[in-house]
Symmetry: none
Subunit: 193 residues, 4 copies
DNA sequence: GATGAATGAGCATTCATTCAT
DNA sequence: AATGAATGAATGCTCATTCAT
């Protein structure tokens, strides 16, 4: 018979609040990968596992799926904002960065396809992208920002499958729209978490 | 509390084989709605429920999700083929029908984004759409069929949200591509099963 | 819209009561195969399908799984009884026939492992086998019939896997028991249905 | 009728990680009973229910049916190995322990009848039993280990029905084989997990 | 009598979410 | 704060059984 009062299994030490920030970053990094691969509906358990973190910690840092997704996509948007802030940035160069994210992340594509209903977080992020595009020196293009956003969504719709295919499709899509994009690339970050 | 001596578990009447065809049609109709709203991964149980039919009946008529999806999307593709067969059909008019389906059905959009791997049914349907487009008298456009299919995928990527918004976005997307589409419309069918 | 009063699909002609007997035989034949391959718990739908008969017909002829199983195993037992009735039959020759069934039919093995509870049909069949063995001229063996039945069950427990393996195991088992068996064989029937 | 405004779906208290080990043990105990009664194909939901544990917990502890079965049968095999390691152990005494398990557990009998195909776990366990028998001081018997394993399978085939009947049949089967077995008994364990 | 469709209970499996420690 | 186990609802799928025609 099992003794019902047998001692609790050894509890892993609480490593203090220093770890908190580290865990948050690990969760975002893991979510970026998982969402990029499987889209915004990927199992959250997979994120926690890849982050090397308990399920509970995930929920402590991010109240729900949306919060986590916002954190991940927020980084993407921040990169786009940084790209636009670089000296010599043009609409062309910024679209290159946008397209880089579109080809890399299924989640970023999903962002542009969200239902308008329960969203809000998503709309804010979209708004920020729109603001960036609106502020770009339009290198010869006379496109309204609405059309630019539409064009980004359209390119998103064109990509599917493995990475190389996604890149080819994205470039072909931009060509079909008659819009130049710079090289597909991320943005260097100071502290690349 | 349930009476443990409940005599007869009241089985809803088996309505005989008369309803078979009706059920099949109801399943397709329900699947069209559910897939249109929630996409190709919608729960099949929701389809059965909306059709007012047991789970088993669904599986009797359609061996798996693919079979059901094919039945639904097959109708869509058939409509497109019919549109191209109408007297006086042009690329423009056919694209209007294609776009009608894109705005109506999330599932139709999904069709154009399927991974090539395990699919086959889906690829066949895509192929049929491509064949229709390839055979259209290209009213002034000099687009290769590859680019046409890409354009359709791009338009698909642009639509989201409520119906009226979807329509506006689709039309704007085509305009951005510089491609004319006819009026968004389905095709009249003799027996609209 | 579908006309709710559309005509019933053409009904397959009722082919008269001559077919009844034929169907019954087909069901037994199919069940023999299916039960032999998959054991007594095989899906009854598989039996109906292999018999080329509707599910309903199966249930008309056989009220439940037990009835069908009894029909199948009854034939096996009848063969054993016939073997014992052949001129020159000995315990050895009869055990050869018994063993033939053991190696051929998973269901026959299952028969010997049935729970005693709800059984009855099964016990009757077992009884008949026992009666046959009891009546055999025991060619030199001094085994009580209880022990013979036990031995048969033991040999049943030894067989598993593909046919050739089953045969080797059965013969090894009998050898281990020090009991001779004749050649493994079925019995010729006059009208081999 | 259920009040549609039911506020809180009363979730049974999550009793924390204290119960983890207890639950695991409860699952194994429940599985031992259920598998013993119904064989290796018993519904896992029955195991979870009898353990007083949610379905999810079962799957957390045991990835699949095989894992659970291995845990249960592994204990059986370990007991047999311990029996062979006892001072004064003989083939006779070990066979008594083996037979004890055969009479107690339908699952243990199933183990000996597994198809070789997709198994592996099962074969490993069988191998361990064989190894134990091979290593036993054969008290006067000159049986090859192959024949011993066959004999065990044969005895397994002989047992069916209620416990007392199973015991009588097993002993009679061994007698028929001319092989001595010690008293049917389990092995005392220090910590009976 | 035969037919084949309808039905729902049952089982396996996954996953979002909560909570004691 | 972190942990990781518990939980059950949801979903896919199979099958025994009933029944109108």
């Amino acid at each position: 018979m099992t003794n019902p009062a047998d001692p609790a299994p050894p509890r892993p030490a609480n490593q203090g609040r220093r770890v908190a920030a580290r865990n948050r970053a690990a969760l975002i990094a893991a979510a970026r990968e998982v969402f990029a691969e499987q889209g915004l509906n990927a199992p959250l358990s997979a994120v926690a596992r890849r982050a090397g973190v308990g399920q509970g910690s995930l929920y402590r840092h991010f109240a729900d799926r949306t919060a986590l997704a916002s954190a991940v996509l927020g980084e993407n948007v921040r990169q786009i904002e940084r790209a636009a802030a670089e000296p010599g940035a043009t609409l062309t160069s910024v679209l290159g960065v946008v397209t880089w994210h579109v080809t890399r992340s299924t989640a970023f594509v999903d962002l542009l396809r969200l239902r308008g209903d329960d969203d809000k977080e998503g709309r804010e992020l979209s708004e920020r992208v729109r603001a960036v595009l609106a502020g770009c020196p339009a290198g010869g293009h006379e496109l309204a920002v609405d059309d630019l956003m539409l064009a980004v969504a359209m390119v998103s719709g064109a990509v599917a499958g493995p990475l190389d295919r996604r890149e080819r499709q994205a470039l072909a899509a931009w060509r079909l729209l008659g819009i130049d994009v710079g090289p597909l690339r991320p943005v260097e970050t100071d502290a690349d978490v």
